[in-house]
């Protein structure tokens, strides 16, 4: 579509695909720290910063998550999972903008992973039942903390083509239509 694709960041944004099979290689701690730093760098509505992250790299917990999550097969091979959580108690009554903050942070994790040679997949948790009720106790958060989603991460064992192009029907110029 354009020749800007050579910009490395653009390349990683377009190249990020959902990868669900992983090699056994561990992710080094320095990379995990960088992924988390990128997660915390996501914007937050009114800068309230309600997010917490749970890092899981032990096989027993990853296997427990894979079992508890009905679409969680990726965690059977992933050496790393990061749960994106929101502390809803710091939000004004009824303000659900933490959903948006969590999603932006998740996207940062996935793009940073791709940039570091890793791959991953966004596994939704919240608002699926009984998935949410099965997965949340594995992490054991207090009641005011929502487990929004989990990133399963590692060195990919499958390759996919990058995204290209847009669906023109979903682009509108100045006004709808």
């Amino acid at each position: 579509m354009t020749n800007f694709h050579i910009d490395p960041t653009i390349g990683f944004i377009l190249g990020r695909r959902s990868v669900r099979k992983f090699l056994p290689n561990a992710v080094i701690p320095e990379m995990v720290t960088t992924l988390l730093e990128c997660a915390f760098a996501a914007p937050s509505a009114h800068n309230r910063r309600p997010l917490h992250f749970i890092v899981v790299d032990d096989r027993a917990t990853l296997d427990a998550l894979a079992k508890a999550h009905d679409s969680g097969k990726a965690m059977e091979t992933a050496p790393l999972a990061i749960a994106v959580c929101a502390d809803t108690s710091i939000m004004p009554e009824g303000d659900m903008a933490w959903i948006e903050d969590a999603a932006a942070a998740m996207e940062n994790i996935l793009i940073a992973a791709r940039a570091l040679g890793l791959e991953g997949v966004w596994l939704k948790v919240m608002d699926r039942h009984p998935r949410e009720e099965r997965v949340t106790p594995v992490f054991g958060p207090p009641p005011h903390v929502k487990i929004v989603a989990i990133a399963a991460l590692g060195y990919g064992d499958e390759a996919k083509d990058p995204h290209r192009g847009v669906n023109e029907e979903r682009i509108h110029r100045n006004v709808w239509g």
């Binding site: 960041t9 653009i10 932006a104 793009i111 791709r114 006004v175």
Partner: protein, 175 residues
């Protein structure tokens, strides 16, 4: 090269909310690439519930700025992308359009930063009265949800990159 010097990591850490813009348009090719990056965001069950309204008309940009308490920068911004969702596209879209559209918004902002633009995410969905107002202004149908607006342009302010992990926000193995 250290991991933190990775160009995309630098772009992610370097993206800050930019609210002052030069009086300089963003060319069409760049706008198209921003939208392509937004469209590359993941969506639940690949249902792709997002729509994008690309606004470059000054009259509309100013009208969006006028009625929103936190959108004065749109008087200056040459470009806005209104990120919308279509909740009735499927059961997955109904549950997750907001997460999917937020990922698309983040891609837009990261791509903008990578292409030397600046921008800021103006929340609409959770700002009382704003969703109806933006719908009216741009002729967006009622069945379409409005997540927010990316105000974009060449930045006229500089900010330090993000760094570090806040105390108490990281948990290992479980909460």
């Amino acid at each position: 090269m250290g991991i933190r010097e990775n160009e995309a990591v630098r772009a992610i850490l370097g993206r800050r909310s930019i609210r002052r813009f030069e009086d300089r348009p963003v060319d069409t090719e760049t706008v198209e690439l921003l939208i392509e990056c937004a469209c590359a965001a993941p969506s639940a069950a690949n249902v792709r519930p997002c729509h994008f309204v690309v606004v470059t008309e000054r009259r509309l940009l100013s009208a969006m700025a006028e009625g929103h308490p936190y959108a004065k920068m749109m008087f200056e911004a040459p470009l806005a992308v209104v990120v919308c969702g279509e909740p009735d596209k499927s059961d997955f879209a109904a549950r997750y359009w907001e997460e999917d559209c937020s990922a698309a918004m983040e891609n837009l902002l990261l791509a903008a930063h990578a292409l030397s633009l600046g921008g800021v995410w103006i929340g609409v969905r959770h700002a009382p009265g704003q969703e109806a107002r933006i719908r009216d202004l741009l002729g967006i149908p009622d069945r379409i949800a409005v997540l927010g607006v990316a105000a974009l342009g060449y930045g006229k302010e500089q900010k330090e990159p993000h760094s570090g992990i806040p105390d108490g926000a990281l948990h290992l193995g479980g909460w």
